[in-house]
Amino acid sequence: MDSMLIWRFYIGEHLNTMKVIILFSLFILIQNEVTAQNGNYAYVNGVKIYYETYGNGPPLVLLHPFSGSHKLWEQWKDSLSQDYLLITPDLRGHGNSTNPSNEFRHDDSAKDIYALMDKLDIKKFRAIGVSSGAGILIHMATMDSTRINSMILVGASSFISEQEREHVKNQTFESYSEEDLSWLREHSSKGDDQIKMLIDQFRSFAYSYDDMNFTPPYLSLIKCPTLIINGDDDEYYPVEIPVDMYKAIPNSRLWIIPKGGHLPIWQKLWSDQFLKVSKQFLVNKL
């Protein structure tokens, strides 16, 4: 009898424990979600910039290409956040960030990133930028040569090439394939209106001359160690462009990836090597 009572008591107590465990697990799950996302907003230059942060260490800013988002850095996040405080923003108008001006200029974005760093009380930092993200870094490094410790430019150009103008000038929402659209929707969380706005901005690159407009003497103002990574098969930026940039930027290194397209570091054969080389470069050991 006694044992029965004890048993029932035990079950009752166990049920309570179960409840606590379930609630606690839920709490941990929610906590985990929040810390996994690490998302925040910063109000800068009239726009709301979304950014995520991971890890600890010296700050490393990662800037995605046009029409992408912070999500593009997913595969290297864990590895890089072991050594660095990663800051992965959505550029103005991209992802969760706003852009009331409905215009995209790389120099505006450059100011956004500096303002974001100010908000985070970060004076100096390292940076990796891809395509438009790299264009923004060129603006940032020429605006102020004191704040970037070192930077990696992937699929970069010092100007908008004829090939790129040809490519963007006929882009419309309707011209995108389902595959393209699903990629865009993954990165642009605010729906098709956001995507349409980005495409309009993208198309206007065809007629933009004063934003990405860096002559070799201007590029020589870049003082930080710079690693330039381009594909030999980049459909927009022929290799002569990164070669000229390499010649103009005093403290630069050039990596041309064979059979590499516009975003070569995401190609399976090269992504591990990108991580390996980047890590060495960022600690000045390349």
Binding site: D233, V239, P258, L286
Partner: protein
């Protein structure tokens, strides 16, 4: 005692020979030393000026698993002779074709570094049918001013201790061999008709070609491989950041080189 020593020597020699896989072929008046390893499609590896077959040592195991490697000493280098005492890349190209004829190899893949890559340019333009695919590391289609300036100043006396020990490791026929090679190297500064390919000429190269070059090559500036990449129809360009004249021998890049080279040679490089 004597017998034991002789026997051990014999055993040692026996051991030496198959490990080396070394043979000689008499071609174009020169005796060309070469080593072979493995089985499969033939892959010829051509070393740089003043080097030898030993330059490829670190990759023999991995490549010989899939290819029949043929690794010669270029004329006058290593164990090979060069009675003419003149070094022309074009002669080397003819030597290699003759060596392939001797081995009854009609078609083959090839990797060449520096002078080895330049011999490959001659080979691929002489005959577009025999090279299946080729990798050119630190090659140029003409000898630029920077390199000539460097070549002009080279004398036996100018070598550092490290350079001499490297040269002696690759060239076992004594310092006279090294002195001849040095004279030939200096002579490159005044040679114009050997490495002298205009861009239309380069378009005659029909095989898939992978061009690898260091961004920091002190003698051959990157504009040259870029021009080569533009001129050779079926080519890809790999510039190695902070890479010197032997860019993929660096630890950071050698594994990636093997990975890329294997895909490229298997025609699976996309």
């Amino acid at each position: 005692m004597k017998k034991i020593i002789l026997l051990s020597l014999f055993v040692l020699l026996q051991y030496e020979l198959p490990a080396q896989n070394g043979k000689y072929a008499n071609v174009n008046g020169a005796k060309i030393y070469y080593e072979t390893y493995g089985n499969g499609q033939p892959l010829v590896m051509l070393h740089a000026f003043s080097g030898s077959h030993k330059l490829w040592e670190q990759w023999i195991d991995t490549f010989s698993k899939e290819y029949k490697l043929i690794i010669p000493d270029l004329r006058g280098h290593g164990n090979s002779t060069n009675p003419s005492k003149i070094f022309r890349h074009k002669d080397v190209a003819q030597d290699i074709y003759a060596l392939m004829d001797n081995l009854e190899i009609s078609e083959f893949n090839a990797i060449g570094v520096s002078t080895g890559a330049m011999a490959l340019i001659h080979m691929a333009t002489m005959d577009s049918t025999r090279i299946i695919s080729m990798i050119m590391i630190s090659g140029v289609f003409y000898n630029p001013e920077q390199a000539r300036e460097f070549q002009k100043k080279r004398t036996f006396e100018s070598y550092s201790k490290e350079e001499l020990s490297w040269l002696r490791e690759h060239n076992p026929q004594g310092d006279d061999q090294i002195k001849i090679l040095t004279d030939q190297f200096r002579n490159l500064a005044f040679t114009y008709d050997d490495m002298n390919f205009t861009k239309p000429y380069l378009t005659q190269i029909k095989c898939p070609t992978l061009i690898i070059h260091g961004d920091n090559d002190a003698y051959f500036p990157i504009e040259i491989p870029v021009e080569m990449y533009r001129a050779i129809p079926n080519s890809s360009l790999w510039i190695v950041p902070n890479g010197g004249h032997f860019p993929i021998w660096q630890e950071l890049w050698s594994d990636q080189f093997v990975k890329v080279a294997k895909l490229f040679l298997a025609d699976k490089f996309r």
